[in-house]
Amino acid sequence: MALLQITEPGQSAAPHQHVLAAGIDLGTTNSLIATVQSALPRALADAQGRYLLPSVVRYQAEATPCVGHEAQAQQASDPRNTVVSVKRFMGRRLADLREAASLPYEFLDRPGMVSLATAAGERSPVQVSADILGALRERAEATLGGPLSGVVITVPAYFDDAQRQATKDAARLAGLNVLRLLNEPTAAAIAYGLDKRAEGTFAIYDLGGGTFDISVLRLSQGVFEVLATGGDSALGGDDFDAVIAQWFCAQHALGAPATLAPGLQRGLLAAARAAKEALSDAPEALMNLALEGAPPLQARLTRAGFATLGQALIERTLQASRRALRDAGLKADELDGVVLVGGSTRMPLAREAVQAFFGRAPLADIDPDQVVALGAAMQADVLAGNGRQDPWLLLDVCPLSLGLETMGGLVEKIIPRNSTLPVARAQEFTTFKDGQTAMALHVVQGERDSVAECRSLARFELRGIPPAVAGAARIQVTFQIDADGLLSVSAREQTSGVQAHVEVKPSYGLQDSQIAAMLQDAVGAARADMQLRALREAQVDARRLLDATEGALAQDQALLNAAELARVRQALYRLAEQLETEAPLERVREASEALSQETGEFAARRMNASIQRALSGQLIDSLS
């Protein structure tokens, strides 16, 4: 029985009215769009019957950008204005791009994200991606005969919020309504219907044209959780073509492929790729390289020969897989399934290696080029069918961490970002001073370690804490976000039961752009945050030490002679001075250390004195 939602008067949709929705695999090398028709997901081809759209855009002055196969054909002749693999630049700053110098583009350092200078002017990766998405949208609308009401776009599981936000912005720019971003491995799992199972853990082995990704997912209660991701951003089908080309040159004593004329190089790589693809079906392939003014060169490559050539590359994928399994804390035989994704997994070489490594036959009967887009299409169909529900029910993760201010202006994160909603987390806090009866709670949002850099959401106080020594009270603070994104924070002292409560609406307070900016900020400032945290912690410790020493002096000053007292006092003043002048971490630590040393003997004497006090006047009998 379908579940119904309330609609505005006169707008209830007729049953079985088909809403056009599509899934988009926005890939590094190729992109693809798919939709569900008559309950079956299928990829949509262009007018020439080609499914894959190369993720390549060429910009020319005063002309509409050219996307896909045509742009790819111009890549060699106009590399500067032909953008390939733009996905690698999404949400990245120039400083994040280590390979920038080796790329043929003119990068412009812009805050938040790099830009490219092209013949058509400055283009950000978001705009380039939007042009690719626009081409896919046109294809879908021409095939389906109507506007798309919404799309699901897939992103790698390791994409951070800035990269995800950039993907969403690109879709918006292309005039697409994003129902949801979906992790690529999750989309592949959905295509195989793994989400229909009760639970399980799965590995998704994705060997594409230029990238390799391995993800370990856990399914529980209908939600896929990413346990671990790994891979190699510079390993894919192209590398296999290159080793075949190298082998061919060695056979004919041609020297390294890179030393050949550009035209010949391209011909060689094309022949290598054809041989690789032929070997997926045939036991051997004949490679042919046409030469100008000479008989063509030939070589026969067998599967076994190719297996030897590709062994080292395959081993790299298995190493990454081993690491991902270790990160997930799993052994290969504990998995419930392995899914193959990416055109390069058609190679029998890869399949056999995966089967041997994971000890089971991988799921591979869906076209590995299409499986991600098909899964996304299935998800889009479900979401479009339920499109009448309140939009904020789609808010399925919290975009930034939520936490509490602690001593020294530091943030203790309670709910980490990307937690799926609804969520509730509790943590125990305690008092800082002896006899403390109230506690101020400051709720903040952000990824930084210092409160000043995060966004303040709410403040409230817990009063009526029973007076006790510092650290004795147990105050449980609970953060809870319901499905509507409403945050409520409550604090409760465990022994007395006093409590306080506040409600906040975090996700409405921040603009998308602000969220992206805050994340960028957090990534860049991680080191500074770490240092600040260390300093603040040292300061808090130092204050505690000062309080304790002063308390002890007030009580037992008589235990020290004048010289000792002077030394302790001096160490005390020195530490207080470091704190007051906001001295650097090292000096605070040194001064704390010095005070601890000076008071070591004092502490021992106090201990003895208090034991004597406790024992004096007692009979030996009463002590046993």
Partner: protein, 106 residues
């Protein structure tokens, strides 16, 4: 007679509150779908003179006379199934539901 479960009433009140206006909820039956009839749930801004109004758990449920014949005795529930949540009609008049559950026959 139309009744609401407490969960349904709570959700309707919440929805009306979020929307900011509206007299209540209209339950209707429309002719369409693969089994002949389909349910509709809409906010009500203006009731018609021929409508019948039921009160349940503080919520007004408004039904037109034609739909009432097919809905009489229905209990409206609000349920959560996995990640999905929504309203469910427990209608004693429905004889057959279509596979997808969006339409029914009397």
């Amino acid at each position: 007679m139309i009744s609401l479960t407490p969960a349904a009433a709570r959700h309707i009140q919440k929805s009306l509150y979020k929307r900011g206006s509206g007299l209540g909820l209209r339950l209707a039956v429309k002719t369409s779908g693969c089994s002949g009839y389909a349910y509709a749930l809409e906010f009500v801004d203006q009731a018609n003179p021929e409508d019948t109004c039921f009160e349940a758990h503080g919520v007004s449920v408004i039904v037109d006379p034609r739909s009432l014949g097919m809905l009489d005795g229905t209990e409206l529930d609000f349920v959560r199934e996995g990640l999905n949540e929504g309203f469910k009609f427990n209608n004693p008049n429905a004889r057959a539901n279509c596979g997808c559950g969006e339409s029914f026959a009397v």
